[in-house]
Amino acid sequence: MNPIQTTLPGLTLASPLVLASGILGLTASSLARVASLGAGAVTTKSFGVEPRAGHKAPSILPYEHGILNCVGLSNPGVDQMIREIWAYRARSVVPIIASVFGKTVEEFGVVTARALEAEPDMIEANVSCPNVAAEFGVPFGADFGSCAQVTGIVKKNAGRIPVAVKLTVNCPAIGRMAGVCEEHGADVITAINTIGPGMLIATDVRRPVLSNLTGGVSGPAVFPVALRAVWEVRKHTTLPIIGVGGVTTVDHAVQMLMAGATAVGIGSAVHYGGVDVFQTINEGLREFARANGLASLGAVIGTAHSEPPPRGSGA
């Protein structure tokens, strides 16, 4: 028995660690390499119907506590990504999640239908992109109605393939948002995307550094926020959760599981721990299971909910 094995709808993962979308997820070779290095599943870079060059550089900028990025959903488009997923599947049996986005609800449907051609193991709808049809272009994931619509259309077009909705924490209430996704057919919740956004200014030249001025924040800085989001999603739904955000250590991964995640996304940690981070954390998780006499890590999922500490004295 593999103590760190976990399951997501229709899938068995040899490790709970899932390569997060946008990290080393552009090409078959890169995805296959990460799979071979210990990821339990890999997620492609989010792709849409058309290729996008994204924003100019600097579009990825580490600071002392995390990473800012404004890559701007750069991707080679669905045609190319179908080929990449296809090529990946010829090389690896590790499950692959196709991350998709659209500028409109309809586009989400179209790209999902097309992505099926590559027969991915799961479709992940990235609802953090702005809804160009909405007032002020707020992201789909920040609005209960649009998030419901996207979930619905992706689910409808995904056929028998399970659907994850990847939520952003920049929304009124992520737990309730997850509930809405569940009602509209989501099989999995991925939480969270980058937070903020943030900005950094180069004072010598009095300018923001990122080409797009601002960028989403990821990495260890955001871990507590991601953990809280996973906790809330768990409170509001019964769906399996891929907990993502700032996980860089074994203890972070275990915290995610205890907060209610079934699988744990690994993104920025590739910067902090190298591509070996999958193996490092896998080993740590095995050691954790051994030290705690657990036949399976599954035994700790959601356990931090079971004995809610007493509330403080304040209102």
């Binding site: 070779s29 600097p58 900028l61 080679p76 080929r83 010598d204 990495g219 203890d251």
Partner: protein, 276 residues
């Protein structure tokens, strides 16, 4: 809760002023900036022109207090960059990548702007008293940077038009040199067709080789996946840009047009290959 993940500082931005500009030709210039860190030949930095863009450049030399970057104007960014004057602010992130090994008795081969890292390598080997044979080629004399220095190091040169050194391609020189002084290894940087011929040459003589690759890059810190070569998926910004024979053999896209900023390879057909 105490397992601290210490962020490596290398990906962070540092600002500095250009200390000196050396014009080699109207389209080729070297920029001296403060020596912000130690680096190995073959490593590169991302250079930010505030408000414009950020692009990767090899370190072409390091002196006590400064660091050199050598740039060829080929497109919008580099054309803008070579207009930069002493005193202007630039942002630097790096050093990125692995760098060349220092192999005593190696043949160092640079082609065109590929001379940048090779020159740094030659400089460092000279400093450490390690013997090496330097060969460099360019289209015409105007494309040859570092000429005086190269001559001092006894560099073998070739130009396509014969305006300096042997007339022809740099690879034409290699077999002759090898027959004279058997080399221990080859370290090379330059245009891909040249690199291909060098690999053939090295295979012919059963020499180990180390070749610097260029691919579209964004992050420099190994996360965006933009610089991963097809085949092994190796990241050129971390495990490269210098690959050895075993690594190079796994590259299935050698000589193909590079993927662009979207990740698309120009010329790839628009419809998928088919279904299982």
């Amino acid at each position: 809760m105490m397992t601290q993940a210490v962020p490596p500082a290398s990906g962070m931005l540092r600002m500095c002023r250009i200390l000196e500009v050396v014009a080699h030709s109207p389209v080729l210039k070297s920029f001296l900036v403060p020596r912000l860190f130690d680096a190995l030949p073959g490593q590169f930095v991302n250079l930010w022109l505030p408000g414009i863009d950020e692009k990767p450049f090899s370190i072409s030399g390091i002196r006590e207090t400064c660091m050199e970057l050598s740039v060829k104007a080929v497109g919008p960014f580099t054309r803008r960059l070579i207009e930069c004057a002493e005193g202007e602010w630039v942002g630097i992130r790096g050093p990125f990548g692995n760098g060349f090994p220092l192999e005593p008795g190696a043949l160092l081969v640079g082609g065109g702007i590929g001379m940048a890292p090779i020159r740094f390598l030659a400089q460092m080997m000279a400093e450490r008293g390690l013997p090496c044979t330097l060969v460099c080629g360019a289209r015409t004399r105007a494309d040859l940077i570092f000429e005086p220095e190269l001559l001092r190091w006894g560099c073998h040169m070739s130009t396509d038009d014969g305006s300096c050194g042997t007339c022809g391609q740099v690879t034409d020189l290699l077999d002759g040199l090898m027959a004279e002084h058997p080399a221990s290894a080859v370290c090379a940087a330059g245009p891909e067709p040249m690199l291909l011929r060098i690999m053939e040459f090295a295979d012919r003589w059963s020499l180990p080789y180390h070749i610097s690759f260029e691919r579209y890059m964004k992050c420099g810190i190994g996360i965006c996946g933009q610089c991963c070569v097809d085949g092994s998926g190796i990241r050129l910004c971390i495990e490269g840009p210098v690959l050895n024979r075993d690594q190079t053999r796994l590259v299935t896209e050698f000589g193909l047009p590079h993927r662009d900023a979207s990740g698309l390879r120009p010329g790839t057909p628009a419809s998928p290959l088919g279904k299982r």
